[in-house]
């Protein structure tokens, strides 16, 4: 199964990031059986990439509070995927690629936090301002 995160691919094409936008999984993979397309619906991998795509797209649209939330959600899920891949020798290298993507989502969440700056003009922005710009997802950043 190949996943292409379109907003990230667009950012790759523009040269604004080198974060990996294409991810290939050979299912079944660890806990993920996904023997057919139906099983993919509840797949953690799919949910993580969708969250990353929504977060990246929201950032492009200057919706920084939304971007921050989805990028942190993506980061939390990617941390689980990374751990799963790292636990098997065959997919250990791929875990490094997922870690690159996870680090990028945290970096972009930090940028979203910075762009909100000192203006807490909405409850969502006030919540984001509680976060440390250097650690924008707190312990939801997805590292074990």
């Amino acid at each position: 199964m190949n996943y292409l995160i379109v907003p990230l691919r667009n950012a790759n094409n523009r040269g604004s990031t080198r974060a990996p936008s294409m991810h290939r999984f050979n299912y079944p993979d660890g806990d993920v059986r996904a023997g057919d397309h139906v099983a993919l619906i509840s797949n953690l991998d799919l949910h993580a990439f969708i969250a990353a795509a929504i977060g990246a797209r929201a950032y492009e649209r200057d919706e920084f509070a939304r971007a921050h939330e989805f990028l942190c959600k993506a980061s939390a899920r990617l941390g689980v995927i990374k751990a799963r891949l790292a636990s098997a020798p065959a997919s250990r290298a791929q875990s490094g690629v997922i870690e690159e993507l996870r680090a990028y989502t945290v970096e972009l969440a930090g940028a979203a936090r910075q762009r909100i700056g000192s203006a807490a003009d909405s409850p969502a922005a006030a919540s984001v301002r509680l976060q440390d710009p250097a650690n924008p997802c707190a312990d939801a950043r997805g590292q074990p």
Binding site: D36, A124, L130
Partner: protein, 437 residues
């Protein structure tokens, strides 16, 4: 039999027997069995997708009838249960919220502390394949929606504050499944073969079918019980006879193809456990709860069962939490905190699960004391919850309580005075504006 006569009979039987009953009602006038400790409502599975591939209404209704039949017989071991199949009528979409609202009012409304669980789903047909996804929602009217987590001062152990946390969810979308239409027909045939009435509680006694059609819902009262044999009286035809309630799952083919029914059984065990204070009974229910979940996970795989497993762990944690002795941290509270932490690791993207773990796990280490380390860890965990959902009121309020405590106790361990003041102002803004909306 007229409806009023049926209910009168039911009330008379309820007065002398544990509530065990099944029924069938239109969604628009959904009713439950008020005396039953746990009620199950099975809604029709609604067809979705392009017109060409839509499952026929009868497939969804037939599936609901089969689920009701299987669930009710599986539930008999819990005593005091009722299961009702709801069916749609023209113009009625069987809205879950409307149905819950309707069974909460009136003379036959849900009683405080009793449990209600609803199962419904979507169904989609493509050639010989039937795709379906089930959803569960459950509630206990009148029960506290949150747990209070007491924390004491580090120095003298005096009560300091109480955090609040809720379970990650009271509903779950279960893993989508694919059945073949051949499987479906086989399930119906097997259900009809196993659902037979006998004149005596004996497997060798002659039998006759209970239902005349495969989509016929079970509407009956249990009028006598001997071991795992139940004498039931049909509400539809008035006929009665003995039927064996299946305690083992192997005989039930629908559960093999729809493992979500095992999860449903686990949720019913959780709800039933709340209304039975007998310790031996509680252990049995807990065992069934774990069995049901294990069967589900085994069938769908750990990844597809993540949310369902996390919810089950949190519910077990909640049950353990209730064993706290006068608000003091003990082994049961510690066990609960460990279960909440496991739930958080399974669904790290859930703000509610993070809030629950954030206010319990650090206090497990400090035995309920607000040490500097515990405060720092709680702060970090709550910020993690808020990063995922900036409008999570429980996490925001918990953080506010922590900062107010740090401010009034002059404990600048996590932030200095100026920072605390600024952060409390941000929290007030986030909460005040949020609450105004």
């Amino acid at each position: 039999m007229k409806r009023w006569r049926r209910w009168l009979l039911g009330l008379l039987l309820m007065a002398v027997l544990p509530a065990l009953a099944g029924g069938r009602e239109p969604c628009g006038s959904a009713r439950i069995f008020p005396a039953a400790a746990v009620n199950l409502l099975v809604l029709p599975y609604r067809s979705s997708g392009p017109e060409l591939h839509r499952a026929s209404t009868s497939t969804g209704e037939r599936l609901a009838a089969l689920i009701q039949q299987e669930a009710l017989f599986s539930m008999l071991k819990y005593q005091s249960v009722g299961a009702t199949q709801l069916y749609s009528t023209p113009g009625d979409r069987c809205n879950v919220n409307d149905i819950i609202a309707s069974v909460m009012r009136g003379r036959d409304a849900m009683r405080p502390g009793h449990g209600l669980v609803l199962i419904w789903g979507r169904i989609y047909e493509d050639g010989k394949d039937i795709f379906l996804q089930s959803y569960l929602r459950f509630l206990r009217p009148g029960a506290a929606a949150t747990i209070a987590v007491p924390a004491v001062a580090d120095k003298d152990g005096a009560p300091a504050l109480a955090f609040e946390a809720a379970m990650p969810a009271y509903g779950v979308a279960l893993a989508p499944r694919r059945l073949s239409s051949q499987d479906f027909a086989e399930i119906e045939a097997r259900a009809a073969r196993t659902l037979v009435l006998r004149p005596t509680p004996d497997d060798d006694a002659p039998s006759r079918p209970y239902a005349s059609r495969p989509d016929e819902a079970l509407s009956y009262w249990v009028i006598e019980q001997r071991g795992d044999w139940m004498k039931i009286a049909s509400q539809n035809s008035g006929q009665s006879g003995w039927v064996r309630a299946r305690m083992d799952d192997s005989a039930w083919s629908l559960r093999r193809l729809m493992p979500e029914l095992a999860y449903l059984d686990a949720v019913i065990a959780y709800l039933r456990l709340h209304s039975d204070t007998d310790a031996a009974g509680a252990r049995r229910y807990l065992n069934w709860m774990q069995q049901g979940y294990t069967q589900y996970e085994k069938a769908v795989g750990a990844d597809a069962a993540r949310e369902a497993q996390a919810l089950m762990l949190a519910l077990q944690g909640e049950l353990s939490w209730q064993g706290m002795d006068g608000g003091a941290w003990n082994d049961q509270a510690g066990n609960a905190a460990k279960l909440f932490a496991r739930a958080r690791r399974l669904i790290p993207e859930s703000a509610a699960a993070r809030n629950l773990a954030a206010v319990t796990e650090p206090l497990l280490q400090s035995e309920g004391r607000l040490t500097d380390t515990a405060m720092a860890d709680i702060n970090k965990g709550l910020l993690g919850a808020i990063a995922l959902d900036g409008s999570n009121k429980l996490a925001l309020r918990n953080l506010q309580k922590l900062y107010l405590y740090a401010q009034t106790q002059q404990r600048p361990g996590i932030y200095d005075k100026v920072q605390l003041k600024e952060r409390l102002s941000l929290l007030k803004h986030a909460l005040a504006t949020d609450e105004a909306n």
